[in-house]
Amino acid sequence: MTLIQPVGALSFMALSVVLFSLGLYGALSRKSTVMVLMSLELMANAININLVALSRFSAPAEMTGQFFAVFSMVVSAAEIGLGLALVLALYRQRKTVEIDAMQELKG
């Protein structure tokens, strides 16, 4: 089968798909905001693996995927910094980190 061949771009892409789906499941199903943010990190991680693997197997000398991955890591570090600051702001107001506590704008 394709997955047992010498390790190619396909193996990395399959791994990335599985990781992304796990992150998607976590982000949609968890009620703790911290767990949701951690699942988002899983998804970002899956995307970075994909970028690096594809760049490695198509144009290794260009390293485009590596630059994309570095900047994506910076952005996701900033994102989780802000996200957790929001969680803390929520916690100070409501004394909880449950995502159901943020329902003020629900129509």
Binding site: V70, A77, G81, L84, A85, L88, R92
Partner: protein, 122 residues
């Protein structure tokens, strides 16, 4: 330029294997060799030799978070400084200006946190 990906990292692999063996080995050795005489004081949580006060799970102040975030920001700055330093002698002086602008922008963030009093230790 390395020839094969795995051949290059044999040392790293050996390091990981030895490290993974070392920890359980020493723990088992100390478990087997040390005499085990327990009393209440010995089983207590170690806190510089004095008796622990209150539960070990304490809640920190929210103000600490800003320190953690400052750590993240300057951690990323270090990450960019490393390839900059390695490749510096190959490049024109312009990259020096680039890095100065980069550091200046981040220092602006530090100055803002300072001005807002987020760094005051209370």
């Amino acid at each position: 330029m390395v020839e094969s990906v795995t051949a290059d990292h044999t040392v790293l692999l050996m390091f990981i294997i030895v490290g993974a063996i070392f920890v359980p080995l020493t723990l088992t050795a100390s478990h087997l060799l040390a005499p085990s005489k327990h009393d209440e004081r010995k089983l207590d949580t170690y806190e510089c030799g004095s008796e622990p006060i209150g539960p070990p799970w304490v809640q920190f102040r929210v103000g600490y978070y800003v320190y953690a975030l400052l750590f993240v920001v300057f951690d990323i700055e270090t990450v960019f400084l490393y390839p900059w330093a390695v490749a510096f002698d190959r490049m024109v002086v312009f990259v020096l200006a680039e890095m100065i602008v980069f550091i200046a922008i981040l220092a602006g963030g530090l100055a803002y946190a300072w001005k807002e009093g987020a760094l005051r230790w209370r």
